[in-house]
């Protein structure tokens, strides 16, 4: 193993997060199932979370002014993102359910009543 590969650093995490992000994008574009799109969103949020936590670990987690406390803003934000994702999923699923009730399908291509 080269030192570059053996020394896992910020880079590695960021690239992985970028991959997750791109997969999320692709999922959003490719799925016709509304819930699939939701999963794409979840992937993107996870990518963001990995970024947050990695930055926190490698760039930020130093002793804050010698007070003994660590700055954990990245982790806190990640927690908030997770909570928001849960909230978002709940609302989105509720919307999908009523979509399903109205159109008897979950294919988002059918919900085009608002077209110009």
């Amino acid at each position: 193993m080269t030192p570059m590969l053996a020394q896992v650093g910020l880079h590695h995490y960021l690239i992985l997060a970028a991959m997750l992000f791109v997969c999320g994008l692709a999922t959003m574009m490719l799925k016709r199932n509304a819930i699939g799109i939701l999963m794409g969103v979840e992937l993107i949020l996870n990518a963001a979370n990995v970024n947050l936590v990695a930055f926190n670990r490698f760039r930020f987690a130093v002793d804050a002014g010698g007070t003994g406390g660590l700055r954990l803003d990245g982790q806190v934000f990640a927690i908030f993102v997770i909570i928001l994702a849960a909230a978002e999923a709940a609302v989105a699923l509720a919307i999908f359910l009523s979509f399903y009730n109205n159109f008897t399908t979950i294919d988002v291509e059918r919900g085009t009543q608002l077209k110009g």
Binding site: M28, M29, I37, T112, K115, G116
Partner: protein
């Protein structure tokens, strides 16, 4: 937390617990049980209050003195909590915080005992009175909430807290007056009470805003410490160098007093109280006789040290007007509860007058004694009303003493007390008020070098009203209990029940002994000393405020100290015996002795005259009174008084109709001249321009417009397809744009 404060806090929270229990379980508890639960809680509250008082006394300087720092005559218990950071303010040990907290002194303790006792009695009475009501549990729920808010108001250590509970009390009052909201009149009365009180509260907010703006903190000890020289008149210089002008101080005082005016039904805002008699009678006893309307007086008592002489004069004038108007109207009422309502207004006027003329102890003393006998009167009236099958017109009563003797006797005791019969509680407090009013008049007339003869009114009116009070109260008793029964059917069914008259007896005893034997006066005197001492400590600890003993204040009342606590009650004790008059005295002490003489000369026999006259006239029911009414002006006067001096009609015309008519007139004017004029003028201009433009349009523009229209149509048709409603297309376009942007940014970053 010191023990009395803890006990009083528990005492405050118990009704809240009762409220919670009844709110959620009241319906399930059912008819008598809900009431009993409420009563049990308030009984606990009462026990706590009494225990608190015992501990309080045992901590004090009195016969039960202990080693505590607090206690009667020693110092108040002040427990502030810094609540909201506000970033400014004077008070140095709480920089920039809005405080909440507890403030316990002798007045608090006395008020607690009074409120919980009256509340307990009213609760007991209500179990009987409301026994057949459909919303029995709801009634007790409201009562509990009311007790909580009232006790919270009294124990509150800051104006803010007082205001919060003040509003809560107002809400309870609204709920309870409108308790029988199916009755239109009750609903209207509740709304009226609410609205009228809001007018007063507006003033309260203004006053509080002024205080808050200048001091940054509205807790009572700080107000007392920083502004205690306001009573001298003149401006107050605060420790940070700003000057709190006397005019502003007066506005502040009057503003706060306006709150009290609303709540205590003072002269221009008094009209809600008689209407509030639409509520159940125990409510009248609890709210509109003792605790709630007294809240206004209590508030003025609490802010007393920071009132300027001008503000006090205003209070005295309002009080004087109120007591006169209330008594006069009460003379002519025929509804037993309305008589009591107007008498309450009148008595509250007495208290306000007392505070206005600087008799702090007198006002508070009357507040407490009045609470006993007035709630007794109301509960007695309730007993009568129940006995009479919910009939309130005295025209149909008469001779009821044979049927309901206990009520008659206790009611009679209350009448004697309110009339100021010696050895009854009302005597002592009223005597003190009249004495101080007399002293005030003497002093004011002296200081104005004989020009201010109008100041005599501050003595003449209350004295005259003392006669009137005895008269109309006795009239009420005679018409209700004496003579021949005027409605035989009603008379036949009348009876009283134990659950209702036991409270009456209890209150009657208190009405008798409350004046001299309960030591209320001592407590109040101590209360002044406690605040004074605490203030002194606070002043020494903080940067002292520089008292500006302004010239205007000295000119008016310099000698007679309206600035509390400059004169401590302990130093007063040497005063009293006439032999000592020769010694050097301040003008105020001399005036007080003179006031005492005035009272002895003019007011001592008021009760006998009033009672006797009423007894003579109404011995045989309405016979003599009817004969008197035949004299021409008497009839009109009676009608005028009967309708409450047409205040309601006046307000209807001035405020309600006035606003409607005035608004309509203004609207019409604006419509005709401003709007129409603008429109007409504009149209003329437009007509001229348009004829010009028409030509251009027809010849030049049309071609361009048509061309543009075609273009827009084409573009719109092309763009429309983009809004397909297909969400994934949107997503794709969005993400493609993001990707392009990202790529572009990276390219720029890498090349640059």
């Amino acid at each position: 937390m010191p023990l009395p404060a803890l006990l009083l806090l528990i005492s405050t929270l118990l009704p809240l617990a009762a409220f919670g229990v009844l709110l959620f379980a009241g319906k399930r508890l059912g008819n008598p049980l809900a009431g009993m639960v409420g009563t049990a809680f308030i009984a606990g509250s009462f026990a706590c209050a009494i225990t608190g008082m015992i501990f309080w006394l045992s901590g004090g300087t009195g016969p039960m003195a202990g080693a505590a720092e607090w206690g009667a005559g020693k110092g108040p218990i002040v427990l502030p909590i810094s609540w909201l950071p506000t970033g400014g303010g004077i008070a140095q040990d709480h920089p920039g915080y809005l405080d909440v907290g507890l403030y316990v002194d002798s007045l608090t303790v006395a008020m607690f005992s009074m409120i919980t006792l009256v509340a307990l009695v009213v609760h007991l009475f209500s179990i009987g009175y409301m026994a057949h009501d459909r919303n029995f549990h709801r009634f007790f729920t409201y009562l509990s909430l009311f007790c909580f808010s009232m006790l919270g108001l009294v124990i509150g250590g800051t104006l803010l807290q007082i205001f919060v509970f003040w509003e809560l009390v107002g809400l309870c009052s609204y709920l309870l007056i409108g308790f029988w909201h199916e009755k239109r009149s009750a609903a209207n009365a509740a709304t009226k009470a609410f609205v009228v009180n809001r007018i007063g509260d507006f003033g309260f907010l203004i006053g509080m805003g002024i205080l808050f703006y200048h001091l940054g903190n509205v807790s009572l000890p700080h107000l007392h410490a920083l502004l205690h020289t306001a009573g001298m008149g003149g401006a107050v210089a605060l420790s940070d160098g700003t000057i709190f002008g006397s005019g502003l101080l007066t506005i502040m005082g009057v503003g706060l007093f306006m709150g009290a005016m609303g709540k205590s039904a003072q002269f221009p805002l008094h009209t809600w109280l008689p209407d509030a008699m639409e509520g159940p009678t125990p409510v009248s006893a609890l709210i509109h006789a003792a605790p709630m309307v007294a809240a206004g007086v209590y508030l003025v008592g609490r802010i007393f040290p920071i009132l300027t002489p001008d503000a006090k004069l205003f209070i005295a004038i309002i009080g004087c007007a109120t007591l006169t108007i209330g008594a006069l109207i009460a003379l002519a009422q025929s509804d037993i509860k309305r008589v009591l309502a107007y008498s309450t207004i009148s008595q509250l006027g007495y208290m306000m007058l007392a505070l206005g003329v600087g008799s702090w102890v007198g006002g508070m003393f009357h507040l407490l004694t009045h609470a006993f006998f007035k709630s007794l009167l109301f509960l007695g009236a309730g007993s009568v009303i129940v006995a009479a099958g919910h009939e309130q017109e005295m025209v149909r009563f008469g001779g009821l003493w044979r049927k309901i003797p206990v009520t008659a006797v206790t009611f009679g005791i209350a009448v004697l007390a309110i009339a100021g019969t010696p050895f009854f509680s009302g005597f002592y407090s009223k005597e003190m008020i009249l004495r101080d009013a007399g002293a005030f008049s003497v002093l004011a007339v002296d200081l104005s070098h004989g020009r201010g003869l109008g100041y005599w009114l501050f003595f003449i009116l209350p004295t005259g009203v003392a006669y009137l009070t005895a008269f109309y109260m006795m009239r009420c008793w005679m018409l209700t209990f004496w003579g021949k029964p005027r409605d035989l059917k009603l008379y036949a069914h009348a009876r009283e029940s134990a659950v209702m008259y036991v409270p009456l007896v209890l209150l009657a005893v208190l009405s008798i002994i409350g004046g001299k034997f309960l030591g209320i006066e001592d407590l109040l005197n101590w209360s002044m000393r406690e605040s004074g001492q605490y203030c002194t400590q606070l002043i020494q600890k903080e940067a002292r405020p520089i008292g500006g003993g302004g010239e205007r204040g000295e000119m008016k009342f310099a000698g007679y100290s309206t600035a509390w606590p400059a004169q401590l009650p302990g130093e007063e004790e040497s005063l009293g015996d006439d032999e000592l008059v020769v010694r050097e005295r301040t003008p105020s002490q001399r005036a007080q002795i003179e006031g005492h003489h005035l009272v002895e000369r003019f007011a001592y026999w008021a009760f006998a005259v009033g009672l006797g006259l009423a007894a003579a006239i109404y011995w045989k029911g309405y016979a003599v009174a009817d004969w008197l009414m035949r004299i021409p002006p008497a009839h009109w006067v009676r009608n005028w008084l009967y309708r409450g001096m047409y205040f309601d009609e006046l307000y209807q015309i001035v405020w309600v109709d006035g606003v409607i008519l005035g608004g309509a007139a203004i609207c019409r004017w604006i419509d005709r001249w401003v709007v129409d004029g603008t429109v007409n003028g504009a149209s003329t201009v437009v007509r001229v321009i348009s004829s010009l433009a028409g030509w251009i349009d027809r010849h030049l523009v049309d071609g361009a417009v048509n061309g543009t229209g075609e273009l827009a149509h084409g573009v719109g048709a092309a763009m429309r397809s983009a809004q397909s409603g297909r969400i994934r297309l949107y997503v794709m376009v969005l993400l493609a744009a993001v990707a392009l942007g990202l790529a572009g940014a990276v390219m720029v970053a890498l090349s640059g």
